[in-house]
Symmetry: C2
């Protein structure tokens, strides 16, 4: 019996190692690969994905699972995670998986063209097909249960559409109201203006990663079109980008990715290359990037230090003082684009997508009616209209890639970050003194000890509850946002 | 029957794609990988090597080979190459292959320590073991034939120890004599002296790669401790290094690697990810790097252009004129280290190693007597003594890595380069006019058309003979070296 467990874990370890290789190729593709290599790389990746798929569906896994006796709780959790993945892979017919891969691969190019041309009609037939296929996948996975809930399991195991809807129902009216209050306030902070050399931004980005304890001995920072972090264990790399007119984009995307990467770097080495050796879910992962980026990185104390470093690098910033800089870093402004949204409005973008994609999968909303539904909802929550589809339903890549069930994890991450921040401030009353010196190590240390080190040991919600000492809810995030933004906007 | 051929080629194509992935990881390891990732990377590489080994020994290959009917000459050659690799893998017992992997992995660390401490005794027991294992491998591969010849097949298919020994016997006395004449000449060129900023060296290195037609759209240049090129087809990357006191090291290593990479980039796309899609042997590969580096890159015409570019970048070089620069770039100097040797002495270093390793495998030389044999031979050919073992038998990594049969391909490459250069000058009488403008494209075009595009289509020697129009021999290289160095040294 111990042999079955050991054989399973040894087999899984090689699979995890090969998955890391695939991740490294993905990193290379976005940072280093010469452009002429794209087609050949596609073939190389397909070969590696073929190897991974064969391993993940290897019938020996079923035999080992049936016989395995785990020696401890971590082993039992590993067996549970391997078993879940194995059963889910078996539930999706190979024909359907192949068709999803084929259609979504083509769909992303069609979506990009539709977005560039602001042409919804060009995208609709493809989106119809994607939604139908993903719905079919959800139904196969659900075994008679709810298809959307079954899809959620890929991103946030244990989450359900109903539970998320209840949380979001609590958040939405307060955020709509806060948004209106802030944008209608008499005082409006001045934005940061000027031109900021890329080299200076990158030097500052490295200081930001340092402040949050990024381990350069097990990672590196490079440029990418869309910032991301990549890898687990001892090779966790981050990327950023520079925009000469907007240094906050570079600095806060670096802090955000440092949050993701710091989580991976902090996981107990005993879990390396096991199913527990990665962040437990998209939502918990996002809570680590968001608490670094927003609750800590956009705090008054930390931005005071950042303001001094910015002046060291770029000279006078045209802002009166550290308070003005803090307000500029937290400025709320009208816009249509999720990825450019501030803390107040971001979750409204997500709730819109969550409600629509859930209705699409349930068949309550037809793809043909999606644009009208999007625009109506946007006007209701944001108070202004969508001008063109590239500002609306064509703005995100996710649906074309078949990623339905992914969006709500962003807001769940924000909600978890709110809870973690409340608990962290409870335990670290002197944190702001450190942050004002550019030292986030007490916060990082708290997160490592209470959450990050455990990796996938506990289910997502239990991971956050263990760290906080209380069950997660929307209250802490909403209270934090209210207090912070009413103060900044002098309401 | 066609099905067996098609199945075999499809299977092989995925294997080749996975081998490219392994190559990319190797590149990453030497250029980008954070140092803390080394151990995890070892596990990732081992998992991928395991996948490759399983594919290369898959019994279906035997069945396909037995049934395959190739539709054309290229297909027949591919089947031949797959069959040879498959039979050779089968001839080496798995136990022996695993033991070689284990021992050589440890041996490289022991060798590095022995070299650092100049302690031959520390390395001898390990080297005994390596030689015994590689001899056993050679005997297994030889099936009653010569073990060293069987080992050569891994690096230079078709070469034999006897044929190489005959070629080298022609080269050695002429090179020993040329070396003595040059080092005893009244005129001795001044070396290039000064400090040269790394940024300037790298900018020039890019110009050198441009001059030889390196395709940046399918490659890139990075820094590495030991320069190398990596990859096939549309992703062929090169590396270099900088030494502030010696810009020639950076520039000529870049040109050398551009030769290797240019060969890979020029192979007919129809051969991509087939057994024909790579350079056909180490010797032919080295002929491409060497003809770029030496016959062309160190020619009077090309160095004239390089001199002007160096002055553009670094200002006055303290050399009188382009003739003095040409002489400095070709300066012959006493030394013990193969990798620092000039065109005149390099092959003497190789012949020494070839004779010794061939005797080791044949059992004519005991590992315990290797140091004395090395030092005696060195004194005889180079006219001065080995001071310490790190300048002698401990200087190269090859033997600790089990690479016995590799060394002679360096000199074979030089010999082939001599032949190719003779043929190229015959066909391109105006080449120097282009080289003087920093344009090697006529030479590159000739090599692409006559040799590089074919990849592995023909056996190594036939590849060179097809390009030259005559059978390769040592004469052209020796005549070239005599003429060039007697002119430079005013003999």
């Amino acid at each position: 019996m111990m042999n079955a467990f050991n054989d399973l874990m040894a087999f899984q370890r090689e699979t995890e190692a090969l998955a890391q290789v695939a991740g490294r190729l993905g990193w290379d593709q976005e940072t280093m690969m010469p452009r002429g290599a794209a087609e050949q790389r596609g073939e190389e990746m397909a070969a590696l994905e073929g190897v991974l798929h064969a391993r993940r569906t290897d019938p020996r896994i079923g035999d080992w699972l049936a016989a395995a006796k785990a020696p401890d709780a971590a082993g039992a959790r590993a067996v549970e995670l391997i078993g879940r993945a194995y059963r889910r892979t078996a539930l999706v017919p190979a024909r359907l998986a192949a068709e999803i891969a084929r259609v979504t691969s083509l769909a992303q190019g069609i979506w990009a063209e539709a977005r560039a041309r602001d042409d919804v009609a060009l995208f609709l037939p493809t989106l119809e097909r994607v939604v139908a296929l993903i719905r079919e996948k959800g139904q196969a996975l659900a075994e008679g249960g709810d298809a959307y809930d079954a899809l959620l399991e890929d991103y946030e195991p244990g989450a359900t559409g109903a539970a998320l809807a209840a949380m979001f129902a609590e958040m939405r009216p307060r955020l709509v109201s806060l948004r209106a209050a802030v944008l209608g306030a008499a005082f409006q902070p001045a934005p940061l203006q000027g031109r900021f050399a890329p080299e200076g931004q990158l030097a500052l980005a490295r200081q930001m990663a340092d402040a949050f304890g990024y381990d350069w001995g097990r990672g590196r920072l490079d440029l990418a079109v869309h910032p991301f972090s990549s890898g687990s264990g001892n090779d966790v790399r981050i990327t950023t980008r520079t925009n000469e007119g907007d240094p906050f984009n570079c600095l806060y995307s670096t802090i955000h990715e440092t949050g993701h990467a710091g989580y991976e770097q902090a996981i107990d080495p005993a879990h390396l290359l096991t199913p527990l050796g990665q962040g437990v879910s998209m939502g918990v992962h996002e809570s680590q990037s968001r608490i670094y980026e927003n609750q800590i990185g956009r705090s008054r104390a930390f931005t005071g230090w950042m303001f001094a470093r910015m002046k060291d690098t770029f000279g006078d910033l045209g802002l009166a003082d550290a308070d003005a800089f803090y307000a500029a870093a937290n400025r709320v402004h009208d816009g249509h684009i999720r990825t450019e949204a501030d803390e107040v409005q971001y979750n409204l973008h997500i709730m819109l997508r969550f409600d629509l994609e859930r209705d699409l999968i349930a068949g309550r909303l037809a793809v043909a009616d999606l644009e009208a539904a999007w625009n109506e909802r946007f006007l209701k929550d944001f108070g202004h209209a969508v001008g063109r589809p590239s500002q609306g339903m064509l703005q995100d890549v996710h649906w074309s890639a078949g990623l339905i069930g992914y969006f709500p994890t962003y807001s769940l991450g924000n909600l978890y970050a709110g809870c973690l921040h409340q608990a962290l401030r409870r335990d670290l009353p002197g944190l702001d003194e450190s942050l004002a010196r550019g030292d986030a190590s007490p916060a990082t240390g708290w997160l490592r000890a209470r959450l990050q080190q455990f990796g996938g040991l506990r289910p997502p919600e239990a991971t956050v509850e263990h760290a906080c000492g209380f069950a997660p809810s929307a209250g802490p995030l909403l209270d934090y946002l209210d207090a912070k933004f009413r103060a900044i906007y002098r309401l």
